[in-house]
Amino acid sequence: MAVSRPLLVAVACMVLLLGSVTFEVVFHRTFTVEVHDAVGWQTVGSFGTGDKGLRAEPVLGTHAVTVNRSDNVEFRVRVDNAYPLAYSHSYVVGYQGINVGEGTLTAPARDVGTSSFTIPASTLLTNVGPKTDPRDNITFVYFDVRLGNIDVPASFQLQEVSR
């Protein structure tokens, strides 16, 4: 088979395509949202980990975060920046259609960056979403952290210790 010029172009583009996809897979950013509880930082949402199927999915916490209604729940958004370029982007936290937090997430090249924010527990406990047995005082909380076109959904269980 003669090697024609179009065939050479196709082979060159195939090599470039493989290189491009490999670059993106090796050097990409993953985002996680974590909540702080008595145990430590617990992941409640992620984006870009590559094992979540077609869309980013919230990670349900293994146990409920217990709070008093007067507490502030502490969160942090974290970026694992594998790119050889630094990352910086503002974010907003959306909860039931309103912005309840905002900030800027930055990370040096090939490094990790975090940014913390808090949401009053009283705000989260007014969630109109599903609740378990009222005796448990557990509320399922869903919110989103939006960084430009990236949407990191997060969810966890919030338990009020006293009323």
Binding site: M14, V21, G50, G53, L54
Partner: protein
Amino acid sequence: MSAAPATEHRPSFFNFRNSIVLLGVVITTIGLIYFAFAFEDIISQWGRVIDFLLLAIIYISMGLHFASMETSPELLHARGWRWLRTTTAFYLLGIFGGGATVIAFLNVDALNRAIKLLVVVTLGLALILIAATRFGKGHGAAEQ
């Protein structure tokens, strides 16, 4: 040209070669669609534009390559499907790839919508004008 006798032996719709080529076309199309969606959290928006563009160039180059070397046998001997040859299959995949490139480009959030519209419309018009003026009739594998 005399009419073909009714008892003329007609080749079957599919033979082994054509079936494999068609299977390749189907698999490649599925792969293209899968690539568009399954890696959206890993491949960046600009990366997707570049990848689809490279795929489109690969398909069109393969079509040009086959156009220059083969006798263009039909893949389907059915009425209305005789245009489907290996070369045209590659050109079609190239068109799908080009369309996917444009869609991926329009989904790049970093660019202003007006700029994206301007680029896409200009590119489309340029392609039409260049193809209509530079390439003569009968240029290409779709020629019957």
